[in-house]
Amino acid sequence: MKINSIQRDISLKQGSSGFRSETAGFKEKCGTDICNTGYNTAYCGSFTGKSKPAANFLDKMLKSEWLKKFVAYSQQHNISTSALIALVLAGILRPATIMALPGDKDKDDKVYASGHAIASGIIGFVVSTIITSPFDESIDKIFEQGKFQREKLKKMTSRISELQKLADSDTITKELKAELKTLTKRKEALNTLLKNIPDWIIAIPRSILTIALIPPILKYVFGMEKKKKDKPVEQPKNNDNVKDIIEKSAFKNIMLKGGTEEC
């Protein structure tokens, strides 16, 4: 076989070798910036704000567009976001913890419990989102966009905007300021209640649906089925016959050699 220079050059992409020429100059080249990589022992740790890379990571996350969208979504869809968080906790964190807990005896139970948690998380999220999202949207249209407002809310909104104008122009009296505060708080409470009361209404049907749907989901999606616990074997009243059988040499042979030898 002809070996050319490329095949022989082990310094190309094959890890450490004696041919590395840059090791001596590495510290001089990168030494000043090495702390900023986040792998330095002085800088790894929690998000206390004291750790520079951690704070940078947090800032990057807080600046991100997806977080803004998620926060806006959670403000608009309270129940759905709660269910989403429950899905993450019950569908990922809980199974991981259950499986990580010690005890090999009841492994099947653990797998079943994990599947149960995942299924209930998924059902909870899907049902909550499907039922409450259109309702949340309608609340948003009424409160944020000012559409479809009826008598009482219209009155409340117009009074708030009237008082707000006075507050902006610094011509508001103390009493009117208190009224503005009360009305704003009342509207806010009304909004919160409206967004969350559907959760109370759907709680029972959702739970019944979850209980009903978990076994088929476990069976057909995850391929799991709850094993029925074995009933304790009834002891025969007279043990003498059993003793006789055990003491017979032929039975002993079956017990010891796994029943391969002929009696």
């Binding site: 704000g49 947090l58 800032d59 807080l62 600046k63 977080l67 803004k68 926060v71 806006a72 979504y73 959670s74 403000q75 608009q76 309270n78 976001t81 709660s82 968080i85 429950a86 906790l89 019950a90 964190l93 809980r94 913890t97 259950i98 948690a117 998380g121 259109p134 309702f135 949207e137 309608s138 609340i139 249209k141 009424i142 944020e144 559409k147 479809f148 407002q149 009826r150 008598e151 009482k152 809310l153 009360t182 708080k185 009342r186 806010e188 409470a189 009304l190 919160t192 209640l193 409206l194 969350n196 009361i197 959760d199 109370w200 709680a203 029972i204 739970s207 019944i208």
Partner: protein
């Protein structure tokens, strides 16, 4: 292989930058036009919009006018924990349903049923108290994160530092007041108030200002959702249910022994 001038990449026309101005406006316009609405989802979005309009008009707007709801809102308008109460009620209904199912389960004997119902009820009460406590405990740390977030929203890198300074000052004054046993009205800095008073916020359009305030509200709600979700959906099933069930079994065994000894005595 014959290399013709067409297949030879060296002869291809390469993009180049002449040094002139990049037409950012037209680029943004093209991006925003493409972002607007996908044609695939357009009919679905239109239908969804119509449905939500109908719900708002025929259902939600009428419920808002419902007097008991307005009275309820009036009663809880000053509550700082209204959202927490809402989550608790939802959880209480679910726990109540499971308790009722346990109580009416005919496969269990009466003692076991009663003990399990009490067990479930106590677990719910203890976990709810824990959820409220944890929510209050993480509030300070979460406020710091919200202040950072708010700073990014109004493009002020110093906002978080100012918030922290004001907070430290307030904590110091509170400690001093506690030490001297004097009553002083010291308030912790409020992010929403600080944002509203900020020049960058004032220069925002009305729509953007509303969006910013909604995001701050969303951050507050998110904290409670995470805390209550953690307690109800993770901590209770993993750490509380098993020990509670073991205690329940121990109690039932103890009761059984006691009953047996009573029967023997008779």
């Amino acid at each position: 292989m014959l290399v013709t001038p067409v297949s030879n990449y060296s002869n291809c026309r390469k993009p180049y930058f002449s040094g002139g101005k990049i037409p950012y406006d037209s680029v943004e316009r093209i991006i925003s036009e493409n972002k607007k609405e996908s044609t695939f989802f357009k009919p679905f979005n239109a239908f969804y919009d119509k449905v939500t309009d109908k719900i708002a008009d025929k259902f939600t707007s009428r419920i808002i006018e419902w007097e008991p709801l307005i009275r309820l809102a009036d009663k809880f308008k000053d509550s700082k924990n209204l959202f927490q109460h809402c989550l608790t009620v939802g959880s209480a209904i679910t726990s109540g349903l499971y308790m009722q199912r346990t109580y009416t389960n005919k496969n269990m004997d009466r003692d076991r049923r009663n003990t399990l119902v009490v067990n479930q009820g106590l677990t719910f009460l203890v976990s709810t108290a824990g959820a409220y406590g944890l929510d209050k405990y993480v509030k300070g740390g979460w406020n710091n994160i919200t202040a950072r977030f708010a700073g990014h929203l109004i493009n002020d890198s110093e906002f978080y530092t100012n918030f922290k300074q004001q907070k430290e000052k307030a904590v110091k004054l509170l400690k001093e007041a506690k030490k001297n046993k004097t009553k002083a009205e010291i308030k912790m800095p409020n992010i929403t108030k600080m944002i509203k008073a900020h020049d960058n916020f004032k220069s925002l359009k009305a729509e953007d200002a509303k969006y910013t305030l909604n995001l701050l509200k969303g951050m507050r709600l998110l904290r409670t959702m995470i805390v209550f979700g953690f307690i109800y959906r993770f901590f209770v099933p993993v750490a509380v249910t098993k020990p509670a069930n073991k205690l329940c079994e121990m109690y039932l065994e103890h009761k059984k022994k006691k009953d047996n000894s009573k029967v023997l005595e008779k």
